[in-house]
């Protein structure tokens, strides 16, 4: 298979092209510091897109990620306000996120409710919960400790910790999805659930695991988000779940399940990240910005539909000939 036929390579090329076009209008965009900034800004999207991709692989979808992020972020801010040390907060939000993901997972696994319905419901419940625990009040910069706000910003070897976390998770989940039994079972469950059952894979439990992973990643992203923007309130990351799904779709993750790679989801997220960061500096009217983001998604899906149809392999040639 030639390199150009690889979807990831094509997407990477598209991103480079996009960066080139932006640079033609605003040269400072390609300065390494700015590109590092784009990567850092896109890190929460990358982290969520990895989780979403795993869920989509299993023929499900998780619309509650942004609400999960917001709830975990708020809890992180409140824990910080109560004087809980940072390592405990980090463990706490990842556990809470995983727990919220497990709620989705159990409903999908044990009750067999379609995931889109389950997560649409829990999305509202999670947002409502934030309101309940805060009465709609905000947690602001001066109510957060310096250490809490500083962690994602701390620069190590030229990149902020938030970027390093995203990179570490990319590597971790690439290994998990390509080298572990659980990782392969995600593909099996989505690709052909019946065959997966015959292969001894519990479809429901695999989907449950996918939701737990997605939730845990959303929990981590919740802390990063709140610490980075130094504010927590009910509506943070409103509508972000759609960006996350879009990143997966652009990255070539098949909505029908069973196909997709971590690299694809990451590139899809970066593609959106470059657009989001480029639009404010190239001086395009805000009225066009949403249309451009939307067009990119439609183009990507169209591209998916026309290109990604791998022809079935004929395995009984002689039988067919008769």
């Amino acid at each position: 298979m030639s390199l150009l036929k690889s979807r990831e390579a094509l997407l990477a090329l598209a991103i480079l092209l996009l960066i080139g076009v932006v640079a033609a209008r605003f040269p400072a965009f390609v300065r390494p510091a700015n590109l590092a900034n784009v990567l850092n800004d896109t890190s929460p999207l990358i982290i969520l897109a990895i989780g979403q991709m795993i869920v989509i692989l299993t023929k499900c979808i998780d619309l509650s990620v942004a609400a999960n992020l917001a709830l975990c972020g708020m809890v992180a801010a409140l824990m910080n306000g109560a004087g809980v040390p940072l390592p405990l907060i980090l463990m706490g939000v990842v556990a809470l996120g995983a727990g919220l993901g497990a709620v989705n997972g159990v409903l999908v696994w044990k009750l067999g409710i379609p995931s889109i319905v389950v997560t649409l419901g829990t999305m509202t419940i999670f947002r409502g919960t934030i309101f309940l625990i805060t009465d709609g009040k905000w947690v602001n910069a001066h109510q957060m400790s310096d250490g809490f706000k500083a962690l994602p910003r701390t620069v190590l070897l030229g990149l902020p910790v938030m970027s390093w976390m995203a990179i570490a998770l990319i590597i971790l989940f690439t290994v998990v999805l390509t080298r572990t039994a659980l990782g392969r079972s995600f593909y099996a469950v989505g690709g052909n659930p019946h065959a997966a059952v015959y292969a001894g894979i519990n479809v429901g439990r695999t989907q449950f695991s996918a939701f737990v992973i997605s939730g845990a990643l959303a929990g981590l992203a919740g802390y990063l988000w709140v610490a980075r923007y130094a504010v927590a309130y009910v509506d943070i990351a409103g509508g972000f779940e759609l960006d996350v799904v879009a990143a997966c779709v652009i990255g070539g993750v098949a909505i029908a399940g069973g196909a997709g790679t971590v690299a694809g989801a990451v590139l899809g997220a970066l593609f959106l990240g470059v657009i989001k960061n480029a639009l404010p500096v190239v001086g395009i009217s805000p009225f066009w910005q949403m249309a451009i983001s939307g067009a990119a998604i439609v183009l990507a899906v169209t591209f998916n539909a026309t290109q990604a149809r791998a022809p079935g392999r004929i395995i009984l040639k002689s039988a067919e000939a008769r």
């Binding site: 001066h142 409103g238 639009l279």
Partner: protein, 329 residues
């Protein structure tokens, strides 16, 4: 039991009632708020007490429901009518639902005004807005101009491109720009009231306009996100973020210096002005379009054709007063 006796009894009771009214030495003004326990309204009550202390013969009844419902306010209003207060000054939870109860109050000779959050026209004598669009527009430009010595590039970071309030304020701000000939408004961008998008737009402004001196954000999400973006870019002191925000949310930004000053209504002044207006109406001032009613230290309220008035310029908050206000609202 003759008719005469009945009539006499009635007359006697009426005399006693009138005598009671005359004997009541204090004017009772009820400050009805959306709900008890909200810092903003506690501060307004403090202002009302200041007005009462200044006037001398006023007793403030600070009251409201325990949750922000119109039903709760109607109960409170009925109780106040029974108590025979002289005036009700209300910040309404619903402009229409409380109007009938307030009309009943007015029928019994009680002065009714609304403040902060208005009541439908038929349910009050006048409404006091904390400020007006023109005053807000002027203030946000002035705040930006003040800290750049009146010279330099400024940009506006708004909410969504369709937010009615923000668009009117920006329009009013642009009208006063000619008064600041050296203030150059280079761009208006929209952060959609999302922290991440506002942050990115602020970064974009800093990258696109290297000579930018101030970012004006007439939205609470935007001003916070822009302050954070300026802080993270290490441009505190170079770029001043200003606009409209809440003291409780902006305390960090003011402390770090990313925001030198910002504006929003002052609830203390609002409670003070509402009390003054009520008092003057009780003492015979007429609430009619075009009328000018004094509000003590704040000046006078001029009523428009809907009997609405704007109190004053938004109040400016900076290092000198943020500590006092951040716990209020």
């Amino acid at each position: 039991m003759g008719i005469l006796k009945k009539a006499l009894t009635t007359a006697a009771i009426a005399t006693v009632l009138m005598a009671q009214t005359a004997a009541a030495e204090n004017v009772k003004i009820a400050l009805v708020v959306k709900a008890l326990g909200i810092g903003f309204f506690e501060a307004a009550a403090k202002g009302a007490e200041e007005a009462a202390a200044e006037l001398g013969d006023v007793e403030i009844i600070y009251t409201g429901p325990t949750s922000t419902t119109a039903e709760g306010q109607i109960e409170v209003i009925n109780a106040l009518i029974a108590q025979g207060v002289n005036a009700i000054a209300i910040s309404a939870n619903d402009p229409d639902a409380v109007a009938p109860a307030l009309q009943r109050a007015m029928d019994r000779g009680i002065t009714v005004i609304s403040w902060d959050s208005g009541v439908a026209k038929e349910g009050r004598q006048l409404h006091l807005n904390p400020s007006s669009s023109a005053l807000i527009g002027n203030t946000i430009i002035k705040l930006a101009a003040d800290h750049i010595d009146g010279t330099g590039d400024v940009a506006i970071l708004s909410a969504t491109s369709t937010s009615t309030n923000q668009n009117i304020w920006i329009e009013e701000a642009k009208k006063v720009l000619p008064n600041y000939p050296n203030v150059n408004l280079v761009a208006t961008v929209y952060g959609d009231d999302l922290a991440d998008k506002s942050y990115r737009e602020a970064q974009g402004l800093m990258a696109t306009y290297p000579n930018l001196k101030a970012i004006i954000a007439p939205t609470t999400v935007g001003i916070l996100a822009a302050s954070q973006a300026v802080t993270d870019a290490g441009k505190i002191g170079e770029i001043n973020v200003t606009g409209l925000g809440l003291p409780s949310e902006m305390a960090g930004a003011v402390e770090s210096g990313a925001t030198i000053s910002f504006a929003i209504w002052n609830p203390i002044d609002l409670g003070y002005a509402a009390t003054m207006l009520s008092y003057n109406l009780i003492k015979g001032a007429e609430a009619a379009p075009g009328a000018s009613i004094p509000m003590g230290r704040i000046g006078a309220a001029t009523l428009d054709e809907n009997n609405e008035a704007a109190m004053s310029d938004p109040f400016t908050y900076d290092k000198s007063n943020i500590e006092a206000f951040k716990s209020i609202f």
